[in-house]
Subunit: 397 residues, 4 copies
């Protein structure tokens, strides 16, 4: 396996050890558990798929924590909350996690919680940290990030139409708006939304926004439906449409202050996107492994030759695309470490265009090599493709 660890930089012995442990956990515990996860989910069926989390998830979480594979995403700048890995070091680990659909959550390194925890750790008050960050770091609750709105280019926070109004009499904010593609909002353990809205439509373009904490059980919050991705609904996680109707939260729930929403979001997106990229590289590596296994299967020779002998080009192309994209991502991670998320904007921007694009290519080639099985539930390839095709839209071009 070509691995992030062998590229340019040398992992320190401490990280190297964790890298090996992570690798084993993912390969020998998370990936084999995927079948169990789908079986448990299928057994629940219908609406129960949204109210109960398949038990295998919490079992893996306990296991990962006991192995010390927990919260590795939080960089040293976050002090006591951080296990002390740079973005570059985490990139190596994160790629491994991306290989299994279950590994990121098992290690408490799953989106959107990681980005949300970074926001709380960086901008939260002590009270906000105590109430939300601590249980998130402990993996006892989950969270969602509510920014995207229907009919609005998601990439552009200045188009947000959700309204956050002050009610000074009650010292509360009143939130009205409609969001969709809110990932994780379907999970019964999701207890808080970090909501982006506009508190002042007449302020300067980048000072209109505020970001505010909304407990999931606040009256007026209505999860309307899960959005589907191709035919997948991603229960129990979900990518939900949510209506906020006269939702009231106390003044204390605002993050950083009125008009500082744009600033908060900018800080969140940099590392978050690189995490996405790194996980995606791991997903692409796994797809390529399926691809290679398939085309070198002696039982699948046609006209006396392995499929790979008929035409090795698809594998070569995938190898070349992955390795180049990984270098770009590592460079971006390294730039964040050295120059901060702002200083690494260009590198992050390049990575987030390239990675979903090449992942779609790599996975599509693997699908083609599998014949009809490639698009079916017997392999995770079609699901991977759907995920990456969506990421290409969300983060990509």
């Amino acid at each position: 396996m070509a691995s992030a660890a062998s590229v340019f930089f040398q992992l320190s012995p401490k990280v190297q050890a964790l890298y090996e442990k992570t690798r084993e956990f993912v390969e020998f515990e998370c990936i084999p558990a995927e079948k169990e996860f789908h079986a448990q989910l299928g057994a629940l069926g219908g609406p129960a798929r949204w109210t109960t989390v398949p038990p295998v998830v919490e079992r893996l979480k306990a296991r990962a924590r006991s192995l010390g594979l927990w919260n590795t995403f939080l960089p040293p700048a976050y002090g006591k909350y951080s296990p002390g890995f740079t973005n570059l070091e985490y990139a190596a680990l994160c790629e491994l996690l991306g290989r299994s659909l279950l590994a990121p959550e098992a290690t408490n390194c799953a989106a959107p919680d990681t980005g949300n925890m970074e926001v709380l750790a960086k901008y939260g008050t002590q009270a906000q940290k105590d109430r939300w960050l601590v249980p998130l770091l402990n993996g006892t609750i989950r969270s969602a990030f509510a920014m995207t709105e229907p009919g609005v280019a998601s990439a552009d926070a200045t188009n947000i139409e959700t309204r956050i109004t002050r009610d000074d009499a009650h010292r509360e904010y009143v939130i009205n708006g409609k969001k969709w593609w809110i990932s994780g909002a379907g999970d019964p353990r999701c207890k808080v939304y970090i909501v982006m809205g506009k508190s002042d439509f007449s302020a300067k373009k980048h000072l209109q926004q505020s970001v505010i904490l909304v407990p999931a059980d606040t009256p007026g919050v209505q999860v309307v439906r899960p959005m589907h991705v191709f035919g997948y609904d991603d229960a129990p996680h979900g990518h939900c449409e949510i209506i906020f109707k006269d939702v009231r939260v106390p003044f204390e729930n605002i993050i950083l202050g009125e008009g500082r929403g744009f600033e908060v979001v900018q800080g969140r997106l940099g590392p978050g996107r690189i995490h996405h990229c790194m996980r995606s590289i791991g997903m692409a590596e796994r797809a390529l492994e399926y691809h290679i296994i398939r085309v070198t299967d002696p039982a699948r020779k046609t006209f006396g030759k392995l499929i790979a002998e008929h035409n090795p080009n698809p594998i070569v192309d995938s190898r070349l695309e992955i390795d180049q994209a990984r270098l770009l991502v590592l460079k971006a991670a390294d730039s964040i470490d050295k120059f901060g998320a702002k200083g690494a904007l260009k590198e992050i921007g390049m990575a987030k265009i390239v990675v979903p694009r090449i992942c779609c290519n790599v996975i599509d080639r693997a699908i083609q090599a599998h014949g009809a099985a490639g698009v079916s539930q017997d392999f995770p390839l079609a699901y991977f493709y759907a995920a990456m095709r969506t990421l290409r839209i969300a983060d990509g071009e």
Copy 2:
């Protein structure tokens, strides 16, 4: 709308009239009914999705029949069964049908029934015709074609492993084997399978196969599961895995005779594939229309311009790909009319490679233009993509 009717050949007044009628039926009845179909299916939920057909389907069938839009696929050579249209003429109509997921079945022109009806009309005994062809032509039952097997390159009938054994004592054939991706086998109205197996493993390569009729309720037939395509299960139609375990049918159920299965299948695949191609062109046209509507939506201007003004290339590319592919398909249809399926092998072969490929391109561009909505259930685009990606595997490369 660029239409098949305007290309090279002139539709006769009779066909032109039917073309217009078909167009109106599809646009104003079938496409609007799709929402109803999905609502009825969703309301059924769970296992009921496989035992009840949404009522809208039979309503549309009655309507199409009353309009005279029925069985238009069967060419003149089939005598009294045929409404009298050439493959080239039907190609023009078939493209229209392909625009809606409901139109082919509504007009009794849906796969796999069309191919199966051609087989029965061409090779069936009078008894076989009376029992199966007549109700199929009337749309009172449906059928499936059971050829593909797991672990076997589907394109190559010589690899089939299903075994058809003679039991002379009982004048029965005994069938044992495993099939998958049997489209339509999930439908409660599916009453018969046309099964491909080997009756003589020691005969010459192309004389080992036989094709045999198996009533769906024969003991030993077990529909194991529906295969998924990118998360879609296509209920109630389904693409099913089926086990045939000591399934017994009388000698009379064989088609054309022992050892002639290859011949039967060859005759079936030519026109069947061109129908697929033509419907796919219609699907691509509809995707392009969504695409155009989206990028010329005045409400979606960014930086003061329509999306289409920022970059018209994706639409141009789709237009160019569709128009070229259609010409190829029309040429293949014309060749079948003039030289028979065998004489048109090269043209059919070219069309079946090109069409799924360009359809995937066209639909993918439309998805990209829609942002996240493009992969969701709010548009049929992701479903179209999944269908075409699968066709590209099955028929394409």
Copy 3:
């Protein structure tokens, strides 16, 4: 050889006979003569390459004329000047001519003369016809079309800056301006330029232009240099930069009248571009033949297999691209016949985008298959590529 003649339409016996004769002339006389042409050109060397036409050219012209393969491009509407073939019929012949660099000129069907002859036949006065059209039709002189200017998007005639000023006193027009990429202007036999300029900069956008005949030896005409295409200068034909400095021609030399230049050019471009497309299809077919010969050469087996067996995809892709593009071109030709150049605008526009694009693809694959020989003077492939890459710019996108 896949040929235009087998597509949809049936050639009449008369055209079929000419088709066969053309095919033989091209394959057995023009293509073998290419080596001679290059040898004669090389022997001339230096400046003499621009003042003497290799003798093989006139020999082939005499031969073609004696075979009745002469001026086949001019459609029936041109009356006595026309040999009577429709655009669709000529398309079949023209593809054959495009296979050899020498065949179009040998049959007096070469650009830019064909377009220029159409202009004169359609819009010329009797005097203009007598002086220029007759010798052009006889192949005793050649001509150029001077429209493109440096620094101006060539596709847009409204940007032309060449100035045509009336001198009523002398009943002359005075022309000042700079043109480039004027194909054929290097040829010593080129006796007349059809020049596009503006006679009234203040008129409405499409009424500012006039088209005027300028004898090549008029004082003030200076051929500055040949433009190179990749490393080719195309001597003696040439694509020249020309300065018009106070060039004076009599009032009688204007075509159709002042302010009607846009109209003239529009009429010229339609069929001219389709001729380009058809010849290009022929060039692509020849490149594909080189490709196939190379990859099926038993002497070039590697690891015990023909190159084509290692990977047939490049040939399949080229075959598919050519056949689709040809159908598009034939449809455009047919549309010109049925609806005129204006009525076929969309079809022509599509063909001229698609054809250079796919030709570049087809030729590039052939080059790759030839290794370094593919880019060298030992095969015409690199030259073909250069020509098509330029056409893709000029006519394409």
Copy 4:
């Protein structure tokens, strides 16, 4: 300008200073001198283009040497001959040199001399070094590497057919064979060929080859013709076809010993190919700069917008491709430093596939943006394309 120097690794102050000096020399002296070079070459004309080197070349060489920009390619392992830069450090410098056609030779870092000097430095006897390496290092002579043969896959040294026969009586080797694409063999200063041939056709596959020094003026050496690349002959450098007919050289001219040719060539190709890659990245950067300048030229607005505003995608794609490819090349260079050419085989192999491929893409996009000027002699883009298209064949796929 995105530069190699900013990627991952930090240049030491010493290298950084040289990097800046190199940059200035290339931008302000080499690139401006290109026009002069072509003018001097054109003025020579005809056969003189092959016998006289345009004087500007030696002027730039003197200048580069005085600036200390000389022989920077030779890594520290070569002891006293080396200026002391690692492959990774040189990669940064080499990219800059690749930006101008004149810079590599001006700094004595041009192919094929660099590879040949490495061979002599690594494997040469003291006598061979004194006679050939010293003047090569001083830039007073040039050299060629004669390996490729017509009709033989150049990538595979085991197919070589040139015969090296011992004549023990005269203590000479007799060489017979035909080579082509021998770069640099046209140059009047080229004084020695490093020739690959087979000294023992019956030995084991990789022990048949020997590499031998042949002075250019040895009787029996006949330079037949320069091969053209898309119309370019690259005078006076040239890529020549050479016949060796009974060419006799003394025993002392063999490098490393009989049967060790494969070993010599393997050692030569690793760094040499990475140099090619790095120069190519520089060429791609320059093409992208032309591209950007063109599409942001205010004088070239169409419909009121900069070309880059109509569609920025081509520039973005080029930027993404170059940056990814550069990282791959740097990784390969770093691997050579750390693990030797053998240990870096995979990295080198990946770079040499990717780089010519993306360079062709980048340059082709730049050509398209320039319209017809892009394929002409007014920009170096078509020449760049021809060079990269050829490299893609030679080194690529």
